[in-house]
């Protein structure tokens, strides 16, 4: 790498400032390098000498600290959103698993010939309890008696 080359100097500086993983760093540097090369070709095509074009392309890209800082902000926000999505998915998977267990449990007495319970007991109360209750489709599929709603449904003033 030539330390006098402004392209290499900027790319090395950005790589040094970035606070991201190895793969992300490699991709970012490759994209920035391509960007400079495109800009240089463009400028050279309009008659600017290559050396001058490289300086201009590097200037347009901005300074290493600003680029790295912007990546730090956007990667942190995106990571936080991803984490939130994963947590939501996990929560729904747990709810689905609980519904499944409840449904299977409701099926057991019928399979053994015993009389099914008149109601499926949902442990807990409030909005979570209403989510645990089987849907019509699940109720049909698993032949689950209707859930007792009194006191376990979603309060009318909450969404």
């Amino acid at each position: 790498m030539n330390s006098d080359n402004p392209r290499e100097t900027l790319l090395r500086a950005v790589a040094g400032e970035l606070r991201v993983g190895r793969l992300a760093r490699r991709r970012i540097i490759a994209e920035l390098a391509d960007h400079i090369d495109d800009a240089v070709d463009d400028l050279c095509g309009s008659g600017v000498p290559r050396e001058e074009a490289t300086l201009e392309a590097v200037r347009r890209l901005g300074d290493a600290e600003t680029i790295a800082d912007t990546f730090a902000v956007t990667h942190t926000r995106a990571a936080a959103r991803s984490l939130l999505r994963v947590r939501r998915s996990l929560a729904w998977m747990m709810v689905a698993a609980m519904s499944g267990v409840t449904a299977v449990a409701a099926e057991l007495p019928q399979a053994s010939g015993a009389k099914p319970p008149a109601k499926v007991l949902i442990v807990g109360a409030g909005p979570t309890a209403s989510r645990v209750a089987p849907t019509d489709r699940a109720a049909t599929r698993f032949r689950i008696p209707t859930v007792a709603a009194a006191g376990h449904g979603r309060p009318a003033d909450r969404r």
Partner: protein, 112 residues
């Protein structure tokens, strides 16, 4: 609402540019500059953090492509991008109207 941050507006602008055709980073920078008559001359390096963010949010996707022997990361809108562009445009119009109304209500002598 994206508020006054230029970063927030940049997301909408990039989505609007990509709505027409898939582009690589340098082409996006050129489109922004050309379509704004040279007004939006952003530090081009700051486009990439925004592109990566939009990709992580599932609004765009990208892949390496080789064009004329040079490898480029090309970005394209996802199915959700159209709705996001409309949402950001509405947000911008609300903000723009709010700012207009403050300027308009200022005494005429304020700018003199």
């Amino acid at each position: 609402m994206q508020g006054l941050s230029f970063q927030g507006q940049l997301e909408g602008l990039i989505l609007a540019v990509l709505a027409e055709q898939p582009l690589h980073g340098y082409a996006i920078a050129c489109e922004l500059r050309d379509r704004s008559g040279g007004m939006l001359d952003v530090a081009e390096g700051t486009l990439y953090p925004v592109l990566h963010k939009l990709e992580k949010e599932g609004l765009i996707h990208s892949r390496w492509e080789t064009v004329n022997g040079r490898r480029r990361r090309v970005y394209a809108p996802s199915a959700r991008a159209g709705g996001a562009v409309r949402e950001r445009f509405e947000s911008w119009r609300r903000l723009s109207r709010a700012i207009d109304s403050v300027f308009v209500s200022a005494p005429r002598s304020a700018g003199e």
